[in-house]
């Protein structure tokens, strides 16, 4: 049996019935990483020894009759989650040797169940990017075609699932950073409602948009993992004190009379043919299962990308001010004096895209420009939220593409940041609205590249999109296709 190909729920059954041990599963995944990661570069840090130790502990726990859904399950985390004792780089030279003194809450919740951490996953530096090419540790490659990008910024989280290097992973999504890589790598990626999962211990990119979510092989796993990480955290004031429903209970194969909106602004002429075909096919599938489709309008969609790149960069310019070489992280050794030490540390430590966004954000907040840029963007954000509220008066969920095209080639868009920014055009509005969205595998491209389908729900409407995604998954087998590595 190829243990590394299993889902959480499949492995859980085997562990619980003692047919397989966590040590065996962990060994299988470590071997798989060893065999494949030179081609994928999904991992920044592999923690083999710690993982084996954790697996032994998990086996003892299972032996004593305690087997929670994640006990003994080998997982990996985007390198943006702080892990006590294991370095957290955020794919930056700045934090190359940073070892955090505490765990991110989301990981702490998984750890409590006995999840086994295989290592830390590659990404765009400080989560800034859509291709995972902006990493100080080299680009991650798409397991379906290693000449292509896996998407970003949680490219490692999706690539590791597609390359069967982890049973499940966590990513973060600020403008599509979970859903877009999931789409490009043929996995399930869920961006929960803002406030559903704690951001404590997650390195901040844009605080009002960042949200933690699972990347998994199927919808059942997404529900399981969300169940583990969701809930109020007293250490994060923006996490919401709302009861966490039983997400697994929502997994019913039933979309009868479910009203699904198709935002006309997302189905524009000139949409990539493969993407259009995947959407048409998905709509036909769901319709045949009894769902009803309605065209809706999200009139301010055209402004979303501009709005996002003002708000996200403004917040980033402030969030990244703490990296100046005084207390932790990279410090320029040759610098003379304070100002030089700070500016040189930043010059050496940050990559080009991070610098670009810090400058954009600093500009947007500057005296004399604040009203025209930051404040205006906040107003547009309110209008975009209103668009979604209006749409959800007519329909239960929305169906859209995740990305305008399947995964593009490595290097194809690095010279043109604006083209790169536009690859998040269908995912960004969900972050601005603060609501939830899931990417699930739909019909692949003619070339066999994965294409994702996005279902968007009301704020805290994760159950509804999970149910619809689950139903879709029951009648299709795209999520079972595996990258030939």
């Amino acid at each position: 049996m190829e243990l590394h190909t299993l889902t959480i729920h499949q492995l859980h059954q085997l562990l619980k019935s003692r047919q397989v041990s966590s040590v065996e599963a962990t060994r299988s995944l470590l071997a798989r990483i060893e065999a494949t990661d030179s081609r994928i570069n999904a991992f920044i840090t592999v923690a083999a020894d710690q993982a084996m130790t954790a697996a032994e502990v998990a086996d003892q726990r299972i032996g004593s009759g305690d087997c929670a859904p994640l006990t003994g399950v080998p997982v990996a985390l985007k390198d943006i989650f702080l892990t006590e004792g294991l370095r957290t780089t955020c794919a930056s030279r700045m934090l190359e040797n940073f070892i955090a003194p505490y765990d991110a809450t989301a990981w702490a919740n998984m750890k409590k169940q006995g999840a086994v951490l295989l290592g830390k996953l590659n990404q765009d530096e400080f989560a800034m990017g859509s291709s995972s090419e902006n990493s100080a540790f080299g680009a991650t490659r798409n397991p379906w075609d290693t000449n292509r990008i896996p998407g970003g910024s949680s490219g490692g989280s999706a690539a590791a699932i597609a390359a069967q290097q982890a049973i499940a992973t966590l990513g973060t999504d600020t403008g599509g950073s979970i859903r877009q890589p999931a789409s490009h790598c043929g996995c399930v990626g869920l961006k929960p409602t803002y406030g559903r999962v704690s951001r404590h211990g997650v390195i901040a990119y844009a605080s009002s948009l960042d949200q933690v979510g699972p990347v998994t092989r199927d919808v059942t796993d997404a529900a399981l993992l969300l169940q583990t990480i969701a809930g109020h955290d007293p250490l994060d004031s923006t996490s919401v004190a709302q009861a966490v429903p039983d997400y697994s209970a929502a997994l019913k194969n039933d979309v009868k009379r479910l009203k699904i909106g198709l935002p006309k602004e997302y189905f524009i002429d000139g949409l990539d043919q493969d993407v259009q075909r995947a959407m048409d096919n998905a709509i036909a599938h769901l319709r045949s299962q009894g769902a009803e489709f309605v065209e809706v309008s999200l009139p301010h969609t055209a402004y979303a990308v501009a709005c996002y790149y003002l708000i996200a960069t403004a917040e980033a310019s402030s969030n990244l001010a703490r990296y100046e070489g005084v207390r932790f992280g990279r410090r320029a050794s040759e610098a003379q004096g304070l100002i030089e030490m700070m500016s040189q540390s930043r010059a050496e430590g940050f990559g080009a895209e991070v610098k670009r966004r810090i400058m954009l954000g600093t500009y947007a907040l500057s005296s004399g420009y604040y009203d025209a840029y930051y404040l205006k963007a906040q107003k547009v954000r309110t209008l975009i939220q209103r668009d979604f509220n209006e749409a959800f008066k007519q329909v239960d969920i929305l169906l859209t593409p995740v990305a305008p095209t399947p995964a593009f080639r490595i290097g194809e868009k690095t010279a043109d940041p604006l083209q790169m920014y536009l690859s998040d055009i269908f995912t960004i509005p969900v972050n601005l609205a603060g609501t939830c969205g899931i990417s699930i595998p739909a019909q692949p491209s003619a070339d066999g590249l994965p294409i994702g389908l996005q279902l968007i729900g009301r704020p805290f409407g994760e159950e509804t999109i999970l149910q619809a995604a689950y139903s879709f998954e029951q009648t299709t087998d795209w999520h079972r296709q595996k990258a030939a590595l």
Partner: protein, 476 residues
Amino acid sequence: MKFQPVIGLEVHVQLNTQSKIFCGCSTRFGAEPNAHTCPVCLGLPGALPVLNRQVVESAIMAGLATNCSIAHKSIFARKNYFYPDLPKGYQISQFEQPICEKGWLEIQLEGQPPKRIGITRIHMEEDAGKLVHGLGNGSGVDLNRAGTPLLEVVSEPDFRSADEAVAYLKQLHQIVTYLGICDGNMEEGSFRCDANVSVMPVGSDTLGTRAEIKNVNSFKFVKQAIEYEIVRQIDLIEDGGKVVQETRLFDPNAGTTRSMRGKEEAHDYRYFPDPDLVPLVISSDWVERTEKDLPELPATKRQRFITQFGLPEYDADVLTASRPLADYFEETAAFAHNPKAAANWVMGEVTRALNDTTLNIENCPVPPRRLADLLHLIDQGTISGSIAKKVFEELWQNDKEPAAIVTEQGLAQVSDSGAIEAVIDQILAVNQGQVEEYRSGKEKVFGFFVGQVMKAMKGKGNPALINELLLKHLKG
């Protein structure tokens, strides 16, 4: 040309909460460098602020006590700038929508009518850490203070003299210490002040260019700094120069101010709402509860002391200077039945004795109840006022009851006319010359006889009775 100074004050009040404003670290002063730090106040990646409710409570109290309106919704903002003592590269403060706005305090200078000083706003913010220099190999950063809660109280530019500014400061200081939200220690920086000073020709309605003076941490220095700055600016203008907008540092040793940074070097703080903190919503219920629990404020207490105890304004002023002093007096007065005597003793003997030591009223060795007992002994005629002072000294040193000391040391007043007359006879007999003088009309010698009799009786004679009997014998 005559000039009119225009002054506004920004006061930083350090709150005395147990823990910091956005994390659970202790705010205690004087610990090992960086002993009171955690990921939040160190500004580590991934750490998030969580607002301390007690800080909000203190801000509401300060706002209510200074006649501010309390905002139903207020917002925390980031003030961005780089400095090694500022761990996150920004300070969490409030900018638009602070917690308190539009308040006032009334000051009164001697011989002048009361004057109302506007308070523009009060907002909450976190303090920075501090740099430690002279460590040999570079400087150190101590972040124990980083995240200590502060209130910034911003006044309108309503002051026209340094004295007005000082009167306001003293009153504000009194209020925050009365509220118990600040220890008021100016030397340790718990209550510090920046002054915005400008001058304009008398009769003008256009404000002059202002200079902001930093680092003035005593009432005396505030007066000195403002007065120096007024003269500096007037001299500058009269010499044909121009005041430039700048930040100036007060030098307490020289009593002068000097330029720290000009307008060109002023920071662009790029304030924006902190996305890590949700808007702070304060229910009217919360405000009402706080208002109900507000301690009696100095002005109210002063007025009550005048009406309830019949004290003169001066006494009421002195006794309400601090809440512990007022409490001490009030407790004494409650037991003593003679408020004026209690006031005199608290302002006199007690204060004098405290001044001679390092003690303060909160740990005064003579508790109010005992002082009241002492006053009782005077009232009942058991001891005289001068004997009472001796007993008080004894009480200061020893943990004993006043009555016990009087008995032990035989200090009880002698009111036996026979005993007093015996002494008088003796004194008159040996001082025949003075008796003659008195009888020939030089009544001033009377005091001499009182003194002699008192001395002979070791101060224990009943003074009224001595007077009465002496008069009888001398006239006799």
